[in-house]
Amino acid sequence: MKKIIVAFVAVLSLLTACSKNNDIQIDSNKFGQVKIKFDHIVNSKKLVLNDYTYSNSHSEIFNVTTLKYFVTNVKFTKSNGETYTVLKEDSYFLIDAVNAHSLNPNILIPEGEYTGLEFNLGVDSLTNTLPVEKRTGVLNPATNGMYWEWNSGYIHFKIEGNSPQANNPNNSYKYHIGLFGGYSTPTVNNNRIVRIDLTKAGISKVQEHLSSDIHLMVDIGKIFDAVHPISIQKNPVVMQSGPHTFIADNYAQMFMHDHTHNFQKIVQHEN
C-alpha cells in the first residue's frame, strides 16, 4: 500500500513538474498550507547563537546571544491584486532563534497562486490595546520577555550579544525595539510593514493537503547597516532612547525571498 502511494506521489510530482502554472485546479473554497521559513544569516554567514562572530561596516566584532521578533498581520497577494489576509488572531508569530519550531510558522490559506507576501514586523497598536484575557500564547505579557511592563507595550524586535566594542562591564549590546504609537499621546511607531515579491524566486502555489514552503533568508547584519549604519560602540544599548527608529528602518530591510518549494507533502506530527 505504502509503495503504491509513493509511486503515485512520484508520478504526480513528475506530472506537476511538467505542468504549466495555469493547469492547476484552483478551488478558493479549499485551504492549503503555507510554511514560511525564516532562515537567519548575518551578512553571509549562518547565524549560530553565541559561538559565531560577525562584523559590521564599522568593523565592530559581535556575536548574537538572543534574537526574537514578532511577525504579525500576514497577508498574501495574487498577481491580479487580490489579497488574502490571515485572521488576525491566527497571525501572531514570535520568531525566536533559540526555538527551532518558531522559525517555520504554518498558515492555512485558500488555494491559489500568490505573488506577494506581506507582514508586519512588530505588534500593532490594536493588539497593544487588547484586554489582558486575550493576551495569550506569544502575546502573554508575562512569559516571553517581549513586553515592557512600565511603558506598557510589546517589544517588536530584540537582539542581544557581546562585542569588545561595547564599552560596559559585560561588553554586551542590547537592542530592544518597541513603541507602537502610544495609547493616548501619539508616540513613535516602530512597527514596520515588510512586503516581499515572490515573483523573482518562485511564486507560492497553494493546494489543499499540500504545503507551499516560502523560504526567506533573514539577514541580521542589516540591523547594523541596511539604511542607517549603527555603531555598537556608540550605541551599546538601544531601547526607548537612541536610534531605535533607525534600527526599525534597518530591520524592515532584512528579509529576502530565496526560493519557494511548492506542493510539498505535509509530514504529520511535525514539530
Binding site: P131, V132, E133, R135, N140, P141, A142, T143, E149
Partner: protein, 343 residues
Amino acid sequence: MKTKKKLSVILLIICTVWACKKADDLAPDDFLGFKKPSYFPEPAYTFESTPLTRETVELGRKLFYDGILSRDHTISCASCHISQNAFTHHGHDVSHGIDDQLGIRNSSSLVNLAWSTSFFWDGGVPTLDLSPIVPIHNPIEMDGNLENGLLQLQTHPQYPSLFQKAFGSTAIETHQVLKALSHFMVTLVSDNSKYDQVQRNETTFTTQEARGYTLFQAKCNACHQEPLFTDFSFRDNGLGINPAKDLGRYEITQQEEDKLKFKVPTLRNLQYTAPYMHDGRIYTLQGVLNHYNKEIVLTDNLDPILKQNNGIPLSREEMEDLLAFLLTLNDESFITNKSFSQP
C-alpha cells in the same frame, strides 16, 4: 445564556434580601462587591469578560498580601501599599523594595482605581489589569518573574483550588492572576469621608470647611476635580527637576511637551498618605500649600494655570480654611475596613 439569566435572577434575589437587611446586620465579612457611588462618574474598569465575585476578590486579596510573586517571597503588593495608610507607603518619600533597594517615586494611594484611565505617575500603563506586572517584574521592587510565579502558584497547597473557585479551572494563567488582583483593587472604593457625607446630605461642613470648599472649587478643582479629586491629566506643577532626573510623562511619550509632567493625584485621604508629590519631597500639607503659594519653579512646561497666576496665591487665613476642607477628604472607614486588610 441560560446561566446568565439564572445568575441575574439569583443576583436580584440576593440584592432584594440585602436591601431588606439593615447595615448593622451585616457581618464584617459580608461581601459587597463593587458598587459605584451615585455621585461618581461611570467607572473606566468593566467586568464584561470576567464577572467580579467574592471568590475573585478574595483570591486577589490573598495574592495582594502574599510575597509569593516576588523573587525571594519577601515583598508583596502590600509592602508598599499599606491599607492603614490608604494603600501608600506612609513615611517613605520613595519606597524600598527587594534587598532594601530604593525606587525613585512615591508609592501611589490605591483608591478608586476603577475610575482611573491610566496607571503610575507617568501613566505608562493603560489598564489596571496590566499594572501589577510592573512592580512584580521591576528589579528594585519585587524582582519576580510572573512565569515562575505561575509555577509557584500551581504547586501551592491552596492556590489551585482558589483559582478553581474563582475562574472555574485549576490551570493558573497570567490573566487570571491579574484579574484577581484587579478585582480586589477595584473594591478599594473610598466614598465615606465627611466630604462624601456632605454630598449625601448626611452632614454639613463647618463654616471654615465651607469657606475652604469655596476656595477649593475656585483654585484647585481645575486639576483635582470632584468627586475623585483628580482629572487624571498629566501636568507640570512647578516642582522642577529632582536629583533622580525623573522626567515623568516624557519617559513614556518622549515628547518635549511632556517633560516634568506627572499624573494629577487624588487628594482623598491626604492625612494618611504623606509624604506628597511624585517623589515624596514634601512631608506636610502645609508644605504643599507653601509650594503652590510661593515655591513654584518656572519650568518650560509649567501648567498654564499656575503660570498665569504665578502659582496659587493664598493668604494665611485662606490656607487655614483650605486645609480644613482638605481634611474632610479623609475617610477613616476606608483605612479601617477589615475586608481590605491582610486576610
